[in-house]
Structures are given as C-alpha cells and as structure tokens.
C-alpha cells in the first residue's frame, strides 16, 4: 500500500539521520527524567492519574450535554460559539471573522487543532498573513516545517540550525547561537506584531462547561498576548476538550505540566470567560469559540475506542516511546505523532490513510504507564490492528478492513488451523526440528542484523515426554 511505503521511507530516513537520532534521544531522555523527578510520590501520582482519568471519562460520558452547557454559558457571557463538522468548515468560520473585520494579519498562539485544520495554509491562500508567536512554532514557520512534537515543536532542530535560520531571515541581526540572545531577538521581532495584529488565535486546553471558561496553559506569554492585545480573539478546539466543573481543573493542572515537561506548573494559566466588559480597559471586544468535530464524534461511538478522546495533549506518551525517540515526529506523517497519534489519526482520517501506524509499535506499554488520563494505548493499538483487517464492516472505525491482505489472511488461517490441531502442530515441530539443518541462514530482514535462530534438536514436547512431565 502506498501509505506503507511512505511511512517506511520516512522512518528509514529519520533512522539514518544522525542529527534526528541524537536530538530526539537527548530531548526524550531529558523529558523522561524531568517528569520522573517531578512525581517523587508514586501514591500521589497514582491517585492523580485515577482522578484525571475519571474527570475525562466523565466529560466524555456527558459530552453532548456539556457542550450545550458550555455554549449556553459562553453565550450568556458574550463569547460567540461556532460549530464545525470539518476542518474546512472551521477554516471558513475563521476566515469569515477575519473578513468581517477586514483583517489581514492573524497572530497565533500554539494550537494543534489549527495545525489539524491547516489553517495557516488556508488563510494564506486568501491573502491573510498567519503569524506563529510561540517561539518553537515561529522557528518552524520560518523554516517552513511542521512541528515534530506536540509540546516542544522544534525539538528536532539544533541551536546552530536555528541561529542560521534567524540569520537568513533577518540579515540585519548579527548571527548568534546564544539561546538567550536568540530568544530576546524573537521577543523584539514579535512584540511589534502583537501590537499590530487585529485578530489573535489560540487553542484551548480545557473548556469548563459550568462557567463557560476557556483555559490556556503556556510559559512564554504569547498566548496571553494573542488573547489580550488584539481586538478579536478566536479560540479553536476539538469538541472533546470540555470538562464539567471548575473543580475538575486543579487536578488536571497538577498533572499535565509535570507529565509534559516535569514543570510543577506553567508560567501562565489563563482563564477567559468573556470579552472585554463595558467598563474594562483592555482585552478583546469579541471572543469566538470554534468547536471542531472532524471525526471525533465517530470515534465517540465506540465504547472502547472512545478512550482515545480522553487525551489532554501532554506529550508524555511520545516522550517515553522508543519508536518515536528513533524516528521523530515527522516520520508519522500526521499532525499528532507518537503513540496517541498512532491511535487518534488513523481513526480520524481513516485506517486506509494511516493504516500502518497501529502496527509501528512493540506494544511495550511505556506510553500507557505514563499517560495522565490512563488511556490504554497498547490495547487501542491492538484493537485498531483488528479493525484494519476485519472482514465484516460492522465497526465504526473509518477505513476498517482496508488493510486486509488476502495472502496475509490465508497465512493466519493456516497458522490458526495448525495451532488448533495438536497432532498437526506436533508433526510440524517434529519436521522442523529434524530438518533444522536445512533452515536458511538468511531470513530476510531478521538476519540483516541478527544471526538466524537455531531450532532445537528436540522440542519441549519431546523432552517433556522423555522426562516424565508429559500428560495426555
């Protein structure tokens, strides 16, 4: 299949790129360590994970009601709520708001949903400048690359690469690879843009139904800038980000930053409940909330796969994934990479589009061990492996059965027949052990880096019988 070829090609390219290998190894080791030391009390961690999972599962159980409540509260407070079934619709909504204000510049805080929408590309085609203000995203925008990690987007780039990039794009600023100076330069460049921009865009970390509050997590201050300085603020979110109560927020805020980067809390936690009120002196006059479905309501239909939607986008799973560490984020070819990407993206776009991702895992379980909301990722990967080759079409997953290969199916049928028939199995083993000298030394990809396994002279079945353990 084409997408198989493409995934393998991208993965191979990354595997043979020493810089990708060392950047990601270094970064993931660091993030794993920082997370570990930020949770010194394993009992506390366990309770926090249980609570966070409950909160998210509860939200999902009541999702339609909570979305309605969120909308009602927001409307009462003056936040305009828009619904979009597809990314295209969502883009259209944003464009509509821009056009109503004759705005030609949109300044963006970090938003994975806006990446999913491919909003920048869409608006640019309409003659609107879309500027990233998160430092990592800004760097990538300069380089023309997508993010490779959901929390640390420019993780694949070295300091020198970034310094070189700045020099190319801003020839008047002297070359520097000093991190503080680079950061200060970016601050100065973007300050003027915050000042000028007529419209700001943000994502949403959590939306509280009880009070109609949009919550944003960040360290840099650009999120606050985008939601304070321009006259219009547009927030875009997937429909699954809603939580029921304000009291649900503290546990999630306690676990997310630590899971993500080992920080006890992020610099800013920004809670927005209305646009500027008549007597207030700053803040946007208009606040919009765009609720995007884009396949989530379909995932919602399945009792097991719904757990995918619990995700709070912390990135801990990919930080701990041995496959992600080696191939990096771009190899996945999806907006969200890593373990969560491997279950989410094939379900959204279809197993015909990303059918390989659920197989690109050893099911080691490192991800599930650290997921703050206890998503059983290996179980869901396994479930998607079933969905991708299922024969009937009675599931809800998009692209179900699209990866079924008649040869592979026959092999497993044969395997199953042999292993469900003990006499046949024993015959097979007996033949294999007697003919073991004829086993080829070269077994495809296995033996390109390993010597061939050696079949034993006597199987365990034989030895068990000889030593008196055998039983009918």
């Amino acid at each position: 299949m084409q997408q198989t070829v493409e995934f393998h090609a991208r993965a191979d390219k990354a595997l043979h790129n020493p810089q990708i290998r060392s950047n990601f190894r270094y970064a993931m080791d660091g993030l794993m360590y920082k997370r570990k030391i930020s949770f010194p009390d394993l009992d506390e961690l366990n309770l926090l994970r249980l609570r966070s999972a409950e909160i998210r599962a509860n939200s999902l159980s009541n999702l339609p009601e909570l979305l309605e409540q969120l909308e009602a509260r927001c409307n009462e407070n003056g936040i305009q709520v828009h619904w979009a079934e597809t990314a295209e619709e969502a883009n259209g909504i944003v464009l509509g708001i821009m056009n109503r204000h004759n705005a030609k510049l949109l300044i963006k805080g970090k938003s994975m949903v806006s990446e999913e929408m491919e909003l920048n590309h869409y608006l640019e085609q309409q003659g609107i400048e879309c500027l990233e203000s998160d430092l990592g995203e800004y760097i990538l925008q300069l380089a023309g690359e997508p993010p490779s990690h959901i929390v640390a987007p420019a993780i694949h780039k070295s300091r020198q690469q970034i310094a070189q990039l700045f020099k190319e794009k801003f020839p008047d600023i002297p070359y520097t690879d000093d991190v503080d100076t680079l950061t200060r330069n970016a601050r100065d460049i973007l300050r003027r843009k915050f000042y000028e921009a007529p419209v700001g865009l943000s994502g949403v970390n959590f939306a509280v139904a009880e009070t109609g509050t949009i919550c944003l997590i960040e360290n840099e201050g650009n999120g606050r800038m985008c939601t304070t300085a321009p006259a219009v603020h547009i927030a875009v979110t997937g429909i699954e980000k809603v939580v029921e109560k304000l009291s649900d927020i503290p546990p999630l805020l306690s676990i997310l930053p630590r899971s993500a980067t080992g920080q006890h809390i992020t610099t800013y936690f920004n809670m927005i409940t209305s646009p500027r009120k008549p007597d207030e002196k700053d803040g946007p006059e208009e606040v919009h909330l765009v609720l995007l479905d884009n396949g989530r309501s379909r995932i919602y239909q399945d009792e097991e796969l719904i757990a995918t939607l619990r995700c709070i986008r912390c990135g801990a799973c990919m930080n701990h994934c041995p496959i992600y560490t080696r191939i990096g984020g771009h190899a996945y070819g999806t907006t969200i990479p890593g373990p969560i990407g491997s279950i989410l993206e094939p379900q959204k776009a279809g197993l015909d589009q990303h059918g390989d991702l659920p197989t690109a895992s050893t099911l080691c379980g490192a991800c599930a061990e650290v997921c703050p909301v206890r998503i059983p990722i290996p179980n869901l990967l396994n479930r998607l492996r079933f969905e991708r080759v299922r024969q009937d079409q009675t599931g809800v997953t998009r692209g179900q059965g699209s990866q079924r290969n008649p040869w592979e199916a026959r092999i497993w049928k044969g395997w199953s027949w042999m292993h469900a028939n003990p006499a046949i199995y024993r015959l097979g083993i007996s033949l294999a052990t007697s003919l073991r000298g004829l086993l080829p030394k070269r077994l495809g990809a296995w033996t390109s880096v390993r010597s061939a396994p050696r079949l034993a002279a006597k199987s365990l079945h034989t030895l068990a019988r000889e030593k008196g353990f055998d039983h009918e």
């Binding site: 041995p322 080691c364 396994n382 199995y425 079945h461 068990a464």
Partner: protein
Amino acid sequence: MSLRTTYPKLPGRVYFFGTCLVDMLYPEAGLAGMQLIRREGVEVIFPRNQTCCGQPAWNSGYRDEARKVASAQMACFPQDYPIVVPSGSCAGMLRHHYPELFSGTPQHNAALAFSERVFELTEFLSQVLKIELSDLGKPVKVALHVSCSARREMGVAGEHQALLQQLKNVELVEPGRKEECCGFGGTFAVKHAQISAAMVEEKATELVATGADALVSGDCGCLMNITGHLDYRKENLPGDHIASFLWERTNATDS
C-alpha cells in the same frame, strides 16, 4: 485482570505452558522451569496438546484465528491447577488478553477463570513456591533484561531480580535505559525491521557496556532478538533464559 496482590498457598500440582518459542528454540528453558518446580516437591503436568497462546495472531489483528487457538489451549488445562508460563509475554496474553479475546462469547467466563490461574514462572517460583536457591556455580557477572511484558503486564521485574540475587556468586548488573524495549515486538521485528534493528542495536550496546559475562532474560522473544544481534556483532555475551540459568547454577548434576 490486574496485577496480583495476594498469592495462593503452595499447590500440590501445577500445569506448565511451555510456549511455542520455548518449544522450538529454547526447550531446555522449558525443561529447566519444570524441573525447578518438581525439585520443590510439586508435580508438574505438561499437557501434550498445548501449542501456542495465540498472541501472534492476536497482535496482528486476526482475532478469530487467535480465538480458535486460544480455545484449544484452554481445553488442555481443564483442572483447577495453576498454569505456570516461562514467558512474561505469553503469560500476559493468557492472563490479560484471553478475557478480552472471549469477551461477548459463551466462553468468556471460562476465560476469566482460566486467566486467574496463570502465573509467570519467576512469579510462581518467588511468590508461591518461595524457592530458596543455593549457588553451586563459579563467580559470574550477569546482566538482566526484563521484557516489557514481564515488567508492565505481569509486574515481575522484582521477582526476576530477587531470584538472581539469591545466587551468592552472581553479580547482577542492569543495563542503562533498562526499561526501554529491545525492539522485538513479535511481528514488529519483521514488519518494521529497520526500527527494530535500531532498537536492538542500542539495547545490545547497553548490555555489552555492563561488562557482563552472561545475559539472562525471562522471555525468549527478547532473548532470540538480542542474542541474535549480539552474535551477529560477534560480541562475547551469551544469553540464557532465567529458568535455564537458575537450574544450571543450582543443580548438582545434569538431569
């Protein structure tokens, strides 16, 4: 099925589920496992009709095929004896995934009852048999590789370690990044061969860096993967299943 918090009293007899990899490639490990148990006075029954836990098909998405094989396995172990398995991965399949595999079928309750009886070998030796081991071997430095299933699905990393630490002449070392997967993953090693190769390369390097004389693991999939690569690299680090290793170190004569 969750990790065990309590263990049963010493049984009079147990079943042994050898696993297909042990059957074909490491039968001495399976034999050693059974002998270790029998030496403690517990009768070990190896049902002749067992074949494979079905995990290869289950992990490939062929659930009907896996179910047929799983059903046949359950029929081999009818009595209410513990089922001891010399593999974290296969034990995990039998204990945690059989109930899922049979969910919504008439065999679901049977699968639940079956999975309750499953023990990984080191768990059984350590927690149920409470085995006491006397080391008869020469001093040796041993690197332990705990499979992801043993560590996370069965929670028996501690049991692997505890058994080896009983051996007075064994210096136990652990590799750097010990919790990271070796890259086997069953069909993953074939389907995503390059990524698997990158993972086993790094795992092997970490193991060699310990300066160990020997590698020990509780899972033959990992063992086959890692020793296959070590051999290819002509490294001088042979590997053994933990059952073989424990039996060799504590058994006075060959049997």
